[in-house]
Each structure stands twice: as structure tokens, then as C-alpha cells.
């Protein structure tokens, strides 16, 4: 799917797409949506096929030595690219914020981690902040609400960018979600380690989502979306969930999270 004819332009950038282990396994459509969007935003996209996991689960569990191993591998894999784009706030934050911290006592690796961090972006913020891009001629007549995933929001400052992008989707109206900056209770392994607490949190979140009256739930992180969508479905809600990238790439007419192909 490599676009083979770009006008000779310095403005075309070379992007390595890091899809994340969760997207890879659970919802590849997000990865393809990312490619579509990045190419539309004048990027030559490559997908390093050796990618696996950034190490966030190990990081959050306190296994720093193990995380370093994964980080070193990931850094070596991604550093050849001009930019690295990740369709997930938490994984992008792992590379951008936490990788350099992992190598406090290792100056050469710290330098490599910092260099990579400076070029790594979450997808939606990359499209707006770096490529100044907005979708053209994408339409979806629907009423949606948006949940701001915590890592993207607080570690990377992603809040305005998704809304700016979604505002360009013809026919799409966005309803505010009460407590949109309040955690959904996913938290990675937290949601299974402390499942009862996670459930209590996501129950409250599901009630807020249902109270908006929106048909669609959108967000920028698949883990959070799966958590909320899974709860909504268990509650018998008809609300459908997509990653914002899928809507922006014109895939809003396809199956939502959890819907059969």
C-alpha cells in the first residue's frame, strides 16, 4: 500500500508505523486506518515487520530490566525513521516519555532513547501538530462522544487535536462526555488484577457514556475503547465504538469494535 507517486516535495516525510501489540492482535483495522491517514497527510509509511511490543506492560509492573530489553530492541527497530507514529497515546508516551527515563544510568542508550522520543508521536496529534492535516471529503452522519485516554491527555497533551480532526467529518456531531477526562478504569493489567475496582470505574464511565445519548463512542486508545465497549455491550447498550482514526479514514461505515465482519 505504499503510495508510489508523490510530487517531488521536501514536505513528504518518512514515517515508521508502530501499530502496538493490541492493535496488531485485536483490531488491525486501526493500523490500516493509520496508514490511510498518514499517506493522505503526505507521509511515506513503512511498517517495520519485526515490531512486537513497546514493553508498557512490563514497565507498569515494575520490571524495568525486562522493559529495557524490549526498549532497546524497539529503539533499534524504529530509530531509522524520520518520524515514528503510534495509534495509541499510552504506547506513544511509553516511547516518548518513559524510554529515556529507563536509561538514566546508560548515557549512550539514553541518547538514543531521547533521539527517538523526540521523533515519536501519537497518530492524531501527529496529523494536526506536525502535518497540519485535516480530513477532506469524509462524511459520517452520526452523533458521537469522545473519551480522552489518560496517557495521551496528561503525558502528551492530546485533547484538542482529535476534536479538531473529527470536526472536519461531515455530518458527525460530537456530544460532550461528562467526566471525559476521568479514567475509564482500563490501566493495562490493572483491569484484570483489580478487576472489581476496574469494573466499578468502567460502570460509572458507561453510565456517563450512555447519558450522552450518542450512538458512537470514539477515542484514541484501543485498550480503553475495548474496556468501555466491552462494558457497554455487557450492559446491553447499543452504543458502538471506533478508534477515531477509523472514522477519519472513512471506515465509519464498517464494523465497530466487537461487531462481526
Amino acid at each position: 500500500m505504499v503510495q508510489d507517486s508523490y510530487p517531488e516535495s521536501e514536505d513528504v516525510v518518512r514515517v515508521g508505523l508502530f501499530v502496538t501489540c493490541l492493535v496488531d492482535a485485536m483490531r488491525p483495522a486501526i493500523g490500516f486506518a493509520a496508514i490511510t491517514l498518514l499517506e493522505a497527510a503526505r507521509s511515506r509509511v513503512e511498517v517495520p515487520l519485526q515490531q512486537t511490543c513497546c514493553g508498557q506492560p512490563a514497565l507498569n509492573s515494575g520490571d524495568l530490566a525486562g522493559t529495557r530489553q524490549l526498549a532497546q530492541r524497539t529503539i533499534a527497530l524504529l530509530e531509522p525513521f524520520q518520524y515514528v507514529v503510534v495509534p495509541s497515546g499510552s504506547c506513544a508516551a511509553t516511547i516518548r516519555i518513559h524510554y529515556p527515563d529507563l536509561f538514566q544510568d546508560d548515557p549512550p542508550w539514553r541518547a538514543r532513547a531521547q533521539a527517538l522520543a523526540a521523533r515519536t508521536y501519537e497518530l492524531l496529534s501527529f496529523l494536526v501538530d506536525i502535518r497540519a492535516w485535516s480530513p477532506k471529503q469524509v462524511a459520517l452522519r452520526a452523533c458521537a462522544t469522545y473519551h480522552d485516554s489518560c496517557s495521551g491527555l496528561r503525558e502528551l497533551g492530546i485533547e484538542a487535536q482529535p476534536r479538531k480532526l473529527l470536526a472536519s467529518v461531515e455530518g458527525l456531531s460530537l456530544r460532550p462526555l461528562a467526566g471525559n477526562t476521568s479514567c475509564c478504569g482500563f490501566g493495562g493489567t490493572f483491569c484484570v488484577k483489580y478487576a472489581a475496582i476496574s469494573n466499578a470505574i468502567v460502570e460509572e464511565k458507561a453510565r456517563s457514556i450512555e447519558a450522552t445519548g450518542a450512538e458512537l463512542l470514539l477515542g484514541g486508545d484501543l485498550g480503553c475503547l475495548m474496556n468501555m465497549a466491552g462494558k457497554l455491550h455487557r450492559r446491553g447498550s447499543s452504543i458502538r465504538a471506533f478508534h477515531a482514526a477509523e472514522i477519519l479514514a472513512g471506515m465509519g461505515g464498517g464494523p465497530a469494535i466487537g461487531e462481526a465482519m
Binding site: M1, V19, C21, V23, D24, A25, M26, R27, P28, G31, V47, L49, Q51, T52, C53, G55, P57, A58, L59, N60, S61, G62, D63, L64, G66, L70, R73, C150, S151, R154, E155, T181, S182, C183, G185, G187, G188, F190, Y194, A195, A196, I197, S198, N199, A200, I201, V202, E204, M226, N227, A229, G230, K231, H233, R234, P255, I257, G258, E259, A260
Partner: protein, 471 residues
């Protein structure tokens, strides 16, 4: 009946809390109010961000020169006629307090609210010494009657309904009256405690701030009980953590602006009082003796072991009010003096990691606590530090370690990873009905409460490879 049992595990306490709808109503009301009021106060203060940076820098400055400021405080407090005592541990501090009380021949002590007092176990120590303890802060009075530990650092009795309070007052107050309204209950407590203020032998308070250049102790309250506790008795004892220092009264004002808004949304509490030394010649009231017990209780270890930022904490409670976990489980589930995010950072230091190993993990690392902290404590980073230490100490369960080892093994070997993940997503499809998995082996942690969206059966990398091969 207390929901906190020493022998209960964290998860058991959580179960109790989650099963209590009355508790949830109380938590929502208290923390919801606090969040709304704080947000309004901050919105009305364009200088908040700069003030927060300044508050953080003042605290960091004090921490960086903690010995200097402790010595300066001690010198000035002594010059004002106060007696200074130092305690390395909580039990030592209790011994000192009990010793002062015994020397004063005290039979009754009144107490205004002090979380440090809870932390060091002072109520228990006084009881063991046969000294009657009268809590004068309304919430502390309520939980004293109920035999409960505090469930919030600003509203210790938030878990009590008005009916429960009325019942307690009916049983314990000498002249309860009707107790038909909350006003009537407060009036009953006022009547009950009034006489005790003036007849107590010793008054014990905490300290919100220790002012280094005057040797004064600052208390921040709203009921008037702190002054009624500390002025009438012959002896006033202050229990304070060594991190409570600020350089001067002016610096304390900066912290006060941050503290009160972050805690309750007000600008100042009704009573901000600076206590400096005992009664002077010419004074018409005041204690003859003024003692300050400076307590380490693990704070020097925090300084030495990477938790220095936690010493900035001014005990506002904002992190509790905004924590999605606290808001579901309340304070008792944490099983220690301090709940919420600040409690999850402090408790492993104060009570040891093995006993509190759930606390750093029972957190989504969402970061709202740090965002609302008026002194910008990097709470998620400090919690990660505990997780790191737990891992290195091998306190994680074997199955978790093995699981991560397997994950890492695969993630370092892309070919194997592809095979394993390909297999896994195909197998998951077996459990799906339509697009959802309601039950699956190894996934009960998830599927107990939510459905799992079914993976499409081929991973992204597999599909991408296939598309790349097409002409």
C-alpha cells in the same frame, strides 16, 4: 463496626467497600463537592499555575535544607518558651506525649485533628496509658464514638450517614436533644464538648505548618475547636512531622492559598492560627507549657530513598478527591492512616512494603492526582518506583513473573511472536459469539465484568504482509 481489619487483605476490604451503596453515595457527595469547589476556586485564580510552581519550589527549598530549617525552627521555638522534643519513630513520639501528660498529672486530654497523631498511633497510646482522650473536631468526635478509623484526611467521617451520627449522639451525648436535623446534631456536639474544653488538663493538636523564622506552629481549621483545645489547658502539645516546615509566615501564606482551595475550594478556613510559645506575662489566657514533638517516622528515609518529592505534601486531599480508585473504594479499603494516591505512596514507607504491596498496583496511573496536586508531586512516578521495588524484591506473585517472562521472551523474538499471536487470535475466535467473547479460559479477569471484542483472526502484521505481496 469497622470495615478495616488488620487481617483482611486489600482485596477483601475492597469487596466490602464496593458492596456498600451507602458508602458510594457518601464518597460521591464529598469528593464531588470538593472537586467542583476546587475547580471553581482555581478557575477564579489566573495565577494558580505560577502559585503552584512557587509552592513546589518553596517546599523543595525547605526539603533541600531540611536540617537547617529544623534547627532554625527549634531555636526560635525555644526562644519563645516552647519545649522541643524529637522522635525517630511513632512509638517514641507517643512515649514522649504520654510522658508529658503523666508529668502534668493529666487525666483528660482534648485533641484537635491531626493525621500525624493517627499515623503514630496516639489514640491507642493514650488509651493504654489510661488517659481519657476527647476528640473535639466534629468528624474525629464521630469516629471516636463509632470506633472507626478515618476514611479521608479532610473529612474523616464522610462514611457516616446522618442517621448513623444521630444514633451515636443519642447513645453517647448527655443532652442530645431531638437530633432531628444536622444542625441539631452539631448543636448537640457543641453542648457535649463545651465543658470538656475548659476542664482538660492537656490539649493536643497537630500542625499544618511549622514556621522556621518565628518558631510558631500554624493550624488550619474551621470549627474553632483547635483554639478551644489549645488555649484553656495548662499544657499544649503539638505533634508534627518534620516536613511541615516553611521558612517564614509569608511563605506559609503562599502555601495557605494553595492548601485551602485544593482541599475545600475556600480561600482560607475560618481559623488560621499561629501558636508561638506558652502564655506570656500579660496574657489573659493560654497554656503554661507549650511542647512541640517533631516526628521523623520514616521521613528521613523518604529523603534518602527517592521519595523526597512526597515530603512536599501539604495534606490537602485533592488527590483523593480526584482518584478514580478512591472514589470507588473509599478510605478504609486502603487499610492505613492515609488513603488515596498520597496514601499509596506513603504507606509502603510507613508500614513496610510486604504489608502494603497492593497499594502501588491498585492504580491505573492515569495521572489526575499529579495534575491536581498543589505542589506538583509526581505521584504516578513515585508509585512506579514502588512497583519497581516490589518487582526487584520478588514480591510479585510467581505466576505474574512467569507470565511477563513468557511475554518478553516472545516479544524479543518476532518470528515466534508472530506465530504465538497468530495462534492466540485464532483460538480466541473459538470463544466468540457474534463479535464478542463473554467467557474464555485465562480471561476471567476481563470477562467476569465485560465482554471481550473478538479479534478478527489475522493480526495486522499478517494482513499487511499479505497485502504487500499482492501485485
Amino acid at each position: 463496626m469497622s470495615a478495616v481489619g488488620e487481617r483482611l487483605t486489600f482485596k477483601a476490604r475492597v469487596r466490602v467497600a464496593l458492596a456498600d451503596p451507602v458508602l458510594k453515595v457518601a464518597i460521591d457527595r464529598t469528593t464531588g463537592n470538593a472537586r467542583t469547589k476546587r475547580a471553581a476556586a482555581i478557575a477564579a485564580w489566573p495565577g494558580f499555575s505560577a502559585a503552584r510552581d512557587l509552592g513546589r519550589d518553596i517546599k523543595d527549598h525547605v526539603i533541600a535544607h531540611l536540617d537547617h530549617y529544623l534547627i532554625q525552627f527549634e531555636r526560635n521555638a525555644k526562644a519563645s518558651g516552647a519545649k522541643i522534643h524529637w522522635a525517630c519513630t511513632g512509638p517514641e513520639a507517643c512515649d514522649i506525649v504520654v510522658g508529658i501528660c503523666r508529668k502534668a498529672g493529666a487525666r483528660t486530654v482534648t485533641r484537635s485533628k491531626s493525621m500525624l497523631g493517627e499515623e503514630i498511633g496516639l489514640p491507642h497510646a493514650l488509651q493504654e496509658a489510661g488517659i481519657e482522650r476527647i476528640e473535639t473536631d466534629l468528624a474525629e468526635h464521630i469516629i471516636q464514638l463509632a470506633g472507626d478509623p478515618p476514611s479521608h484526611i479532610v473529612w474523616p467521617a464522610l462514611h457516616k450517614t446522618r442517621e448513623q451520627v444521630a444514633a451515636l449522639f443519642r447513645d453517647h451525648h448527655h443532652n442530645p436533644g431531638t437530633l432531628a436535623t444536622i444542625e441539631a446534631m452539631v448543636a448537640s456536639a457543641r453542648r457535649e464538648l463545651r465543658g470538656r474544653f475548659l476542664t482538660a488538663d492537656v490539649g493536643i493538636s497537630g500542625a499544618n505548618f511549622l514556621i522556621a523564622d518565628t518558631g510558631a506552629v500554624c493550624t488550619v481549621t474551621n470549627e474553632g475547636n483547635a483554639e478551644l483545645t489549645t488555649t484553656p489547658p495548662r499544657v499544649h502539645i503539638v505533634t508534627a512531622g518534620i516536613e511541615k516546615l516553611v521558612p517564614s509566615t509569608a511563605h506559609a501564606m503562599v502555601m495557605l492559598r494553595l492548601l485551602v482551595r485544593s482541599a475545600t475550594g475556600a480561600e482560607l478556613t475560618q481559623y488560621t492560627t499561629f501558636h508561638c510559645g506558652p502564655k506570656r506575662p500579660g496574657d489573659l489566657d493560654g497554656p503554661a507549657e507549650f511542647h512541640i514533638v517533631l516526628v521523623d517516622g520514616g521521613r528521613t528515609r523518604m529523603l534518602a530513598e527517592g521519595l523526597a518529592e512526597m515530603l512536599r505534601c501539604i495534606r490537602c486531599g485533592a488527590c483523593l478527591n480526584h482518584c478514580v480508585v478512591y472514589r470507588q473504594i473509599g478510605g478504609h479499603a486502603y487499610g492505613s492512616t492515609y488513603p488515596g494516591p498520597m496514601g499509596s505512596v506513603l504507606t509502603p514507607m510507613l508500614e513496610g512494603l510486604p504489608r502494603s504491596k497492593d497499594l502501588p498496583h491498585a492504580c491505573t496511573l492515569n495521572g489526575q492526582c499529579q495534575e491536581v496536586c498543589p505542589v506538583a508531586i509526581p505521584l504516578p512516578t513515585l508509585l512506579r518506583g514502588w512497583r519497581d521495588r516490589l518487582w526487584r524484591l520478588g514480591l510479585e506473585s510467581v505466576s505474574v513473573r512467569q507470565g511477563f517472562a513468557l511475554w518478553r521472551f516472545l516479544a524479543l523474538r518476532p518470528a515466534l511472536y508472530r506465530q504465538a499471536s497468530g495462534l492466540a487470535v485464532r483460538m480466541m475466535s473459538w470463544f466468540a459469539r457474534d463479535g464478542w467473547i463473554a467467557r474464555m479460559p485465562l480471561a476471567s479477569g476481563w470477562t467476569r465484568y465485560r465482554d471481550l471484542p473478538r479479534p478478527p483472526g489475522r493480526t495486522f502484521i499478517a494482513q499487511y504482509r499479505r497485502r504487500m505481496r499482492r501485485p
